[in-house]
C-alpha cells in the first residue's frame, strides 16, 4: 500500500509543474483620487514565493503603509499536465496628503535572490471635497495575515453592535467607503470590518448581509483575518471586501451590513485551540454557553450624482470607469466568405457588467455579427471590478477590404467627470469580398452612397437592398418530409428483407442443419428396412447406406469400415455391424451368385443392432 501511495505521489509530482516564469507587477486600484481618500497599491508576484517588499514607501505628499499579503493559487491542465501558478499580492494603502500629480517610483522586490523593480505608476490627486475617510480606517502597521497586535486608534465610525452594553465589548462592525460622492454606475470599493473580542470564541455562520435599494453590490472577496488593538482591547478582525454601484441619482442611504455569528464566553477555549481564526466558518462550536449575535456596521450616506447629458455619445451604453481599448484581427488574409475575427479588448476598472459592446465604425463593406464577450478579472483584484473584457466580432467582407472596421467605445470617466470616446485603429487585412445573397431588386434604384459613412454604426441596412429569391420553403424540417420518410421506409424494408435472407441462408448452411438432415434421411432408411416387402438385397444395401450415412453425417467422404473402427461405439455393436457388412460382401463378391436369404427373426435382429448403433452414436 505504501509503495502504491509512493508511486502515486511520484506520478503526481511528475505531472505537476510550476512552469510559470517569475513576474512582478504593480497596480493601483485607482489612477485618480482626492486628498484624504486612500487608494490601494497591489504588487503581484507570480511564480515565486517568499518575496520581500519594503514596509514603507517614501513618497513626498503620499502616506503609504503596508497592509498585508495574500496568496492565490491557480491550477491549469495543459495536455494532461497540471501546472500551478502561485501569486502573492502585497498591498499598500496610499493616502494622498496634498493635491497634484504623483509618480510612485519603481519598487524593489527581492525574489529568489534577485531584485526586480516594478514599473513606475502615476497617481493624480484632486483637492479634498469630502471628509477624509482614512482616519476612520484603522490600519495596523506591518502586520501579516495573522499579524501581531497593533495599537491603532479606535474606529471613529464604528458603532456598537446591537444588543446589550456588554455586546459592545464583544463585537462591533465598521463600514468603510472611501468615496462619499460618486456618479450613477460608478463602482466604489467597500470594506466591511467586523471586530470580535479575542476573549470570546467565535464562529461565523454565513457571509455578511449587505444589500439595499438603489445600489448593487458585487460579490464579496475571500475574507481577510487579522488581529488589532482598539482602545487597549485586542480584537480579531474579519474583513470582507466588495464594491457598490449606485443605480440612481440622489442621496443614497446605505443600510448597515450585518454578520450573524455564534460566540462563547471566555474560559471555554475548545479542545486546546486558542486561536480565533480556527473557529471561523464552519468549525463546530464546543458544547456550552453558545449565544447567537448579529454584528452590525454603521450606515452610510452617499451623494450620487447623475451622469451629465452634455457630451454623451449616442453609442454610450452605460460604462462608467477608466478604460483603455485595444484591437487585433486574425487572419490577416481571408478568402471570399471567410470570416475575420476582430478581437476588441477593453481593460481598466469600472462597471464591466453594464458595459455594452463597442460599436464598429466604417463597417459598410463588412457583414458583422453581435460579438461574443468574456470578462476576466485582474488577479490582484479580489472583488472583480478591475480586469479586461474581450469582445470577439466575426466579420465577413462584402467586397474586397484592406482594413478592418474601427471599434469605438464611449464611457463616462468619473475622475475627469466627462465622457470619453476611445477608438481602436483600423487593422490592415486583405479580405476578399463575398457576393451578397440578396441582390438589388429590379424595380429599385441603385444604392445611394452613405452621407457620412464614418459615422455609421454597424450593421446598417441599405434601403435599396431587398431579397430577390422567393423560392418556396416549408416550416417543417426536411426530416419530416413525406418523400424523405417514404424513401427511408423503403430502405428499411429492403434492409429487413436482406437481414432475413441472410439469416435464412445462415441457418440452412449450418453444420447443425446438415446433421439434422442426415439424421432424418437415415431414419427414413430404417423405416424402409422394417418393411417386410423389402428384399434381402435391398435390405443389406440400405443397411450399409444407413451405417455410412450415420458415420459420415458431416459430409466427409471416407471408407465406412475405417470410420466404423474409429468410431466410439462399443465393440459388440461394431462386431454386429461388421457382420452385416460381411454378409453383404459375401453376396456381392460371391462367384456362385447365390441368393441371399433373410428370415424375419434375422431381419429383426439386424434392425435392432442398427438401432442400437444409431442410439450409441446419438448418445
Amino acid at each position: 500500500m505504501k509503495r502504491l501511495l509512493g508511486l502515486f505521489a511520484l506520478v503526481m509530482f511528475g505531472l505537476i509543474g510550476t512552469g510559470v516564469a517569475q513576474q512582478v507587477e504593480a497596480e493601483l486600484s485607482q489612477d485618480y483620487t482626492e486628498v484624504g481618500q486612500p487608494v490601494r497599491l497591489n504588487i503581484s508576484v507570480t511564480g515565486a514565493r517568499g518575496a520581500q517588499v519594503p514596509q514603507v514607501l517614501k513618497i513626498d505628499g503620499l502616506d503609504s503603509r503596508f497592509i498585508g499579503k495574500s496568496e492565490q493559487m491557480q491550477w491549469q491542465m495543459n495536455g494532461g499536465r497540471v501546472s500551478s501558478t502561485s501569486t502573492s499580492i502585497y498591498s499598500y494603502l496610499i493616502l494622498p496628503l496634498r493635491e497634484g500629480g504623483f509618480t510612485i517610483p519603481s519598487i524593489p522586490v527581492a525574489v529568489g535572490g534577485k531584485t526586480v523593480k516594478t514599473s513606475p505608476l502615476t497617481l493624480r490627486v484632486a483637492g479634498a471635497q469630502g471628509v477624509p475617510v482614512l482616519p476612520a480606517i484603522p490600519v495596523p502597521q506591518g502586520q501579516s495575515r495573522r499579524g501581531s497586535v497593533s495599537p491603532v486608534p479606535p474606529p471613529q465610525s464604528a458603532p456598537p453592535s446591537q444588543g446589550s452594553q456588554s455586546d459592545e465589548r464583544i463585537a462591533f462592525g465598521d463600514l468603510i467607503i472611501p468615496k462619499k460622492t460618486l456618479f450613477v454606475g460608478e463602482v466604489v470599493p467597500v470594506e466591511l470590518r467586523f471586530y470580535f473580542n479575542t476573549d470570546y470564541t467565535v464562529r461565523l455562520s454565513a457571509p455578511p448581509s449587505f444589500s439595499g435599494e438603489g445600489f448593487t453590490v458585487l460579490p464579496f472577496s475571500k475574507p481577510i483575518e487579522k488581529q488589532q488593538e482598539v482602545d487597549g482591547q485586542i480584537y480579531n478582525v474579519v474583513i470582507f471586501q466588495t464594491a457598490v454601484s449606485a443605480a440612481k441619482a440622489g442621496s443614497l442611504e446605505i443600510s448597515p451590513a450585518t454578520l450573524g455569528s455564534e460566540i462563547q464566553p471566555p474560559g471555554r477555549v475548545p479542545f486546546g485551540r486558542d486561536d480565533f481564526f480556527g473557529g471561523f466558518f464552519g468549525n463546530i462550536m464546543p458544547p456550552g454557553d453558545v449565544r447567537d449575535i448579529t454584528v452590525r456596521t454603521q450606515s452610510a450616506k452617499l451623494d450620487v450624482k447623475p451622469l451629465p447629458r452634455e457630451g454623451r455619445s449616442e453609442d454610450f451604453s452605460g460604462a462608467v470607469g477608466q478604460f483603455s481599448l485595444q484591437a487585433s484581427a486574425t487572419p490577416k488574409q481571408a478568402a471570399a466568405g471567410e470570416p475575420v475575427s476582430l478581437k476588441v479588448t477593453v481593460s481598466g476598472r469600472g462597471n464591466f457588467n453594464a458595459m455594452g459592446s463597442p460599436v464598429l465604425l466604417e463597417a459598410d463593406g463588412w457583414r458583422t455579427y453581435p460579438p461574443g464577450e468574456k470578462f476576466e478579472a485582474s488577479p490582484s483584484d479580489p472583488i472583480g471590478f478591475n480586469g479586461e473584457k474581450r469582445f470577439e466580432y466575426m466579420i465577413v467582407a462584402r467586397e474586397d477590404q484592406s482594413k478592418t472596421p474601427v471599434a469605438q467605445l464611449s464611457f463616462f470617466d468619473p475622475s475627469l467627470e466627462k465622457y470619453v470616446t476611445l477608438k481602436s485603429p483600423a487593422i490592415q487585412v486583405a479580405a476578399k469580398g463575398a457576393a451578397d445573397p440578396p441582390v438589388v431588386a429590379a424595380a429599385t434604384p441603385a444604392p445611394q452612397p452613405q452621407a457620412t459613412p464614418s459615422a455609421v454604426t454597424t450593421p446598417v441596412q441599405n434601403e435599396s437592398l431587398l431579397a430577390s429569391n422567393f423560392s418556396p420553403a416549408s416550416f417543417a424540417s426536411f426530416a419530416h418530409d413525406r418523400r424523405f420518410l417514404i424513401t427511408n421506409g423503403v430502405l428499411a424494408v429492403a434492409w429487413s428483407a436482406a437481414l432475413l435472407l441472410g439469416l435464412g441462408r445462415a441457418v440452412t448452411v449450418s453444420s447443425f442443419a446438415r446433421q439434422s438432415a442426415a439424421r432424418r434421411e437415415s431414419r427414413k432408411l430404417l423405416h424402409k428396412m422394417e418393411d417386410p416387402g423389402c428384399g434381402p438385397e435391398e435390405f443389406f444395401n440400405m443397411a450399409e447406406e444407413f451405417v455410412s450415412s450415420r458415420l459420415t453425417s458431416n459430409g466427409a467422404r471416407s471408407d465406412v469400415r475405417e470410420l466404423l473402427e474409429n468410431s466410439g461405439i462399443s465393440d459388440d455393436t461394431k462386431a454386429a455391424v461388421r457382420a452385416v457388412f460381411n454378409r453383404h460382401d459375401e453376396r456381392k463378391y460371391s462367384a456362385s451368385n447365390l441368393q441371399l436369404k433373410l428370415d424375419a427373426g434375422e431381419r429383426k435382429q439386424i434392425l435392432d443392432q442398427l438401432k442400437s448403433f444409431d442410439h450409441e452414436l446419438r448418445g
Binding site: Y369, P370, A441, Q461, E463, S468, A479
Partner: protein, 247 residues
Amino acid sequence: MNCAGKLFFVCLFFVTVLCVHADTIQDGNAAFAKGDYPAAIRAFESALATQGSSAGLYYNLGISEHKNGQHAQAAVNLRRAIMLDPRMVDARMALSEIERSEGVPSARSTWRDFVAERAPLKVLLITGCVLAWLGAFLLLFAVFAMRCRLLPLLGAAGVVAGGIGIFLIGYVADPRVSERDAAVVLEKEGVTLLSLPADQSEVVLRLPSAASLRILRRSGEWTFCSAPGGERGWAPSKSLEPVLPSA
C-alpha cells in the same frame, strides 16, 4: 370540352397566378424604394398569403416593418426568414440591429447556430441518411458474406455511426426543430414574466420588446415561457407572437 382544352385552361390559370404574384412582389419592392413602407408591408403580406412561405418574402416584410417602426413584428418575420433559410446572413444582421436598438441582450451563440449558419442542413440530413443506410447494408454484407471479419464489421459500424451523427447534427441544428417553440415579445413596452398566471403575482423578469423566449405551455390567456437566461414565468399570450406561423 376535350382533354387538350382542360389542360389549356389549367395552364392559363397557373400563368395568371404567377403573373399576379410577380406583380405583387414588384409592387412591394417599388413601394419600399419610394419609402412607402406600409404599402410595401401590405404587398409582401399579400404575396406571402398567395404564394406561401419564402425566406425572401419574410425578409422583405421584416425589413419593411423595421423601416416602418414595427420593430417587434419585424423581429418575428426576420426570425421566420432565418428559420426558413438559416444561412441568410442579411436577415441575421437586420435582426441583430433590431435587438440592439430595443435593448435586447445579445444571446450567446450556440453550436447549433454555428452549424446552421455555415452548413446546408438539407445536405447534412441527406448525406447522414445515405451514409447510415450504406453502412447498414455493408454491415449485413460483413456479417453474412464475410463471416463477421472484424475489420469490415468495424468499418461498416463506423459508417453507420458517422451517418447517424451527421443526420442528428443536421436535424438538431435546424431552427425549424430547435426554434419551434420560440416566440417574440410584441409589446412596445416589453413584457413582464410573472411567477403565476395572475396580474398581481411576483415579477420574475422584465423582457424588452423584440426579445425572444421559448413557449413551454399555454393556459388560457397566459403562456408559460422560458427566457434566454433560463428564467421561467407567465406572460400574457397576447403580448407574444410565435415565430412559427399558425397554420
